[in-house]
Amino acid sequence: MVEWMLQNGIWEVKMSAPPCNEIGLEMLSALESFVGEAEASDAHSVIIYSGLESGFSAGADLKSLYSEVSGGWDEAKRGQLSDFLSRIHSVFNRLDMLPQTVICSIHRVCFGGGFELALCGDIRVAEKTARFAFPELRLGIIPCFGGIPRLERDIGNAMVRDLLLTGRSIRATKAAEIGLVTHVVPRGEGLAAARAVANQTGKFDPEARRSCKQFLKLLPTERLEEEKRVALRLFQSDVVINALKKFVESDDVRPYLP
C-alpha cells in the first residue's frame, strides 16, 4: 500500500491504498518505517505521490474510525484516539523536519488528512486536476494531523479561515495564487515535475541545503499541541459519531461535496 525506493539520491514514496489513500493505522506504520529509513540516509530529496487515479489522499480512514467508535466513546477509546493522534503528529513532524527536501506531487483529491500530509512537504507540485479541502467541520471536528498550524505557516490567515470555516475545495491554480502550491502542471505530469525539482535541489551542497531548510522551516510546536487538544475535546461529542455514521453509510453520489 505504501512503497518506497531510493534511486540517485531521491526517495520516491508511492501511496497505493484504495480507494484514495485513506490514512489509518497501516498507512501510519508505513510512514513511520519510511521516515526512520529516510532520517538515516544521505539522500537529498523525498518525493511523495499517489499511485492511484482517484487522487493524492482523501484523508483519515473514517470507516475504520467509525467502526471503532460507533458504540460510543469510553476511556479506552479516548486513549486509543489520543495515542493515534500522537503517533500521527510525531511522524508528520519528523517528515516535516527531514534533512531531505520533501516534494509532494498532488493530483485530484487532496482532502483532510491527505492535505495535512501534503502540508508536511517543502515544495508542492500540483497537477491541474488537484483540489484541496479541509472538510473536517462537516464531521464536527477540526483537522487534527497538524494541518492548521502548517497551513498558517504557509499562507495568509484570511484564506486559512475561509478554507476551514466553509470546508470548500479549491483547484490547483487557486492554490498557486494563495501560495499553497508552487508548481502547477498538466494532468499526468506531476511526478516528472517533482523529479525535476528533486534533481535541481540535489545539485546543491548537502550542508547548505540542509541548513537552508532548517533556517526557513520551523515547526509550530505550540500550535500543533493546541490543535491536538482542541481536536480531542471535539471528538468526544456525539455530533462526531452521528456525522461519521452519515458519512460512512451514505450512498449519495456526492459525499465529497460539503
Binding site: 486536476t129 449519495d252 461535496l257
Partner: protein, 77 residues
C-alpha cells in the same frame, strides 16, 4: 439553450466521453454522465478553468441539472 449551457454540455461530454447531442439542459448531470462526486469535482475544475471563475462547491448543493449549473456559472462570471 443558452451559450453557457451549450459550452457546459460540450465540456462535460468531452471530459466524460459522452455524446453531447444526447445531453439536454434539463437533465440531471450526475445521471446523464454516470458520474459520482469525485468526477463532479473534475468537472468543477474544468468549469472554473474554462470560465475563469471560482465556484465554491457548497453552492453546488441542490444543483442537479446542466441548466442549474449553467445558471450558477453565469452568476459567478
Amino acid at each position: 439553450m443558452t451559450a453557457t449551457e451549450k459550452r457546459l454540455i460540450e465540456l462535460a461530454a468531452e471530459r466524460f466521453s459522452a455524446d453531447a447531442n444526447l445531453l439536454t439542459p434539463g437533465q440531471d448531470f450526475f445521471e446523464a454522465l454516470g458520474i459520482k462526486s469525485i468526477q463532479a469535482l473534475d468537472l468543477l475544475t474544468d468549469l472554473e478553468d474554462e470560465f475563469d471563475i471560482e465556484i465554491p462547491d457548497y453552492e453546488m448543493q441542490g444543483v442537479n441539472t446542466f441548466a442549474a449549473l449553467a445558471a450558477l456559472i453565469d452568476k459567478r462570471a
